[in-house]
């Protein structure tokens, strides 16, 4: 176990350092959620006027949604890094070393979570500047940020696992495109739950994006239902663990086919 932790930390350092060397990547990663926030905020501004819409302004409602969406997308595309390492032979080199297999996944997920924390902080700051108010305060924001990071990690683990099985950039791109937007819109990220059609409400119950949005938004209310928040956080923790286990298993499948 301690070897897994140490190795995970070595891998995390590697990924963070490599990231820090790509200024364009950093710029795009940090600017993209800002664009989403401003764009969606402008396009859907009138949503707040819909009868039955609870929030005072749409920016109050949207900011947590964009935080969650950012986490989901960062996770969904994480497999691209695995493909690059596969093509370079880096993964094979690690697999013939005594490195803990799980560390090869968790190292990436920790890096993902750290990036997600930074992105969330930027979106939240911008939301506050734009006039968003969160009665739940710092605790609520912490819950939102942590649950988004968990969502990112679980989708990131799946994306990593799929990259190991498919070994093709095109497959990862296609799958991410296919899954991410529908997953986001089959949740209450942008629209209040009781204002979307019944079938979407039904599906969203099983959607991890919805769990994240629910945990975050509920924690940001004046009097959160902590039972609801913790149950959704629990689901996200469990999902992250299962996905990490699956991704680690994918190494075995990969090794069987080479």
């Amino acid at each position: 176990m301690s070897a897994t932790l140490t190795h995970s930390w070595f891998m995390t350092t590697r990924h963070l350092r490599n990231l820090a060397r790509q200024p364009w990547w950093i710029a795009i990663t940090l600017v993209q959620p800002v664009i989403w926030l401003l764009l969606f905020g402008a396009v859907f501004k009138a949503t707040a006027d819909i009868p039955g819409f609870a929030a005072d302004s749409y920016i109050d409602y949207l900011t947590p949604g964009i935080v969650v969406m950012t986490g989901a997308f960062a996770g969904g595309w994480a497999g691209m890094g695995v493909i690059e390492d596969l093509n370079r032979g880096v993964i094979d080199r690690f697999l013939v070393s005594p490195v803990a297999r799980q560390a090869l996944i968790t190292g990436r997920l920790v890096q993902l979570a750290i990036v997600s924390l930074i992105q969330s902080a930027i979106v939240i700051t911008l939301g506050l500047i734009a006039g968003a108010r969160f009665p739940g305060g710092a605790t609520g924001l912490a819950v939102l940020v942590v649950s988004s990071a968990l969502l990112g990690a679980s989708l990131g683990a799946l994306s990593n696992g799929m990259a190991l099985l498919a070994r093709k950039e095109e497959t990862v791109i296609a799958a991410s495109n296919f899954v991410l937007l529908p997953l986001t819109f089959l949740s209450s990220a942008f629209m209040q739950r009781d204002l979307v059609p019944g079938w979407i409400q039904t599906i969203s119950r099983y959607n991890p994006v919805e769990w994240t949005v629910t945990a975050g938004r509920e924690a940001l209310t004046a009097q959160p239902d902590w039972g609801l928040v913790l149950s959704r956080l629990g689901l996200l923790v469990a999902l992250t663990m299962v996905c990490t286990w699956l991704a680690t298993r994918a190494f075995r499948t990969y090794q069987r086919t080479i």
């Binding site: 070595f10 032979g89 880096v90 080199r93 005594p98 090794q255 069987r256």
Partner: protein, 324 residues
């Protein structure tokens, strides 16, 4: 199985998908402290063998031991005793040479001052000291390859696997790499398993080699033993007429002192006890058969001839077909 050997492979088989048989009962033994070459064209099964011996891949059946440890039963112990320089490098291009080596050392449990001095030592030894803190993306092909080898050595392995170590390198860089590999085995007492499809590389570096064809070892021995098994000189005739296959072979049937005649396209190969005496007779016979001759060469047997002898095909020709 003997346990003194550094590598023992026995009856290895591996099939990809339904019908791509990569290994078909391949086996060989490598004595500790020697350089052993696996020679064969692309697709012969060399890389698959290395993947199995380095615990990256599993065979369908067969047994393998590295440094006396069963590869299938105790892969983790094997991993600590081997180094691999794979065909596809393994250098992290976004990291510097020093960072690549440091991470590799950490993975094998090296820490602190010991790790730092080992990294510095290897950077110096492989001529990377000046480039140590530059990102590897800017390295030349030769520098990346040297970094690869340094990374394979960081934990002082007993057995080093070099999978096509000079493929894609300039001839000049290749010669430097040969010197480095020869030095490694001589100075460190390492056992090295080298795969290559360059005849010259196998000839220069390998103390013993196994010729691999279609997933099997077809011949094994030192380069000199293998060449010595072929009696006499090799005659190589470049025919002026590509359609002459059957007629050319037929024409030489009647020439005394010539054997093992093989024709592929414009290329005719045969063996003879005395090359210089046989040439006039060969030319005469071909002329009598109405076959034009572009050139004739006589040579001591080469590994290409050994390959031809054991597989019925010319190595250079197979290599061309594969790359097409």
């Amino acid at each position: 199985m003997r346990t003194s050997a550094a590598i023992e492979a026995r009856d290895l088989t591996k099939t990809y998908g339904k019908d791509v048989r990569a290994l078909d009962g391949l086996g060989f033994v490598v004595e500790a402290g020697t350089v052993f070459g696996l020679l064969g064209p692309n697709g012969a099964g060399k890389s698959t063998t290395v993947k199995i011996l380095t615990t990256l891949s599993l065979p369908d059946s067969g047994q393998a031991r590295v440094a006396g440890i069963d590869v299938l039963a105790e892969p983790d112990r094997v991993r600590r005793t081997i180094g691999l320089v794979g065909q596809r490098s393994g250098v992290d291009l976004e990291a510097t040479g020093r960072e690549n080596l440091t991470l590799q050392g950490q993975v094998y449990g090296l820490r602190g001052a010991e790790l730092r001095s080992r990294v510095g030592e290897l950077l110096g030894r492989f001529g990377l000291a000046d480039a140590a803190d530059r990102v590897a993306r800017g390295y030349s092909g030769g520098m990346q390859r040297r970094l690869d080898i340094a990374m394979g050595l960081i934990h002082r392995p007993q057995v080093l696997f070099l999978d096509e170590p000079t493929t894609g390198l300039d001839p000049e860089v290749r010669a430097g790499m040969w010197a480095e590999i020869a030095h490694l085995s001589a100075a460190e007492g390492l056992t090295i398993l080298l795969t290559t499809h360059y005849l010259e590389e196998a000839d220069r570096l390998a103390g013993r080699l196994a010729i691999v064809d279609r997933g099997r070892v077809v011949a094994e021995g030192s380069p000199n033993e293998l060449k010595g098994e072929l009696r006499g000189d090799a005659i190589h005739v470049e025919l002026g007429d590509p359609e002459a296959d059957g007629r050319a072979a037929g024409a030489l049937d009647r020439v005394p002192g010539i054997w093992e005649v093989a024709v592929e396209g414009r290329s005719l190969r045969a063996r003879t006890g005395d090359g210089s005496a046989a040439v006039p007779a060969v030319l005469q016979a071909l002329e009598a058969g109405g076959i034009r001759v572009a050139s004739v060469t006589i040579a001591r047997p080469s590994l290409d001839d050994v390959y031809l002898r054991h597989t019925g095909r010319s190595f250079t020709r197979v290599a061309e077909e594969v790359s097409r």
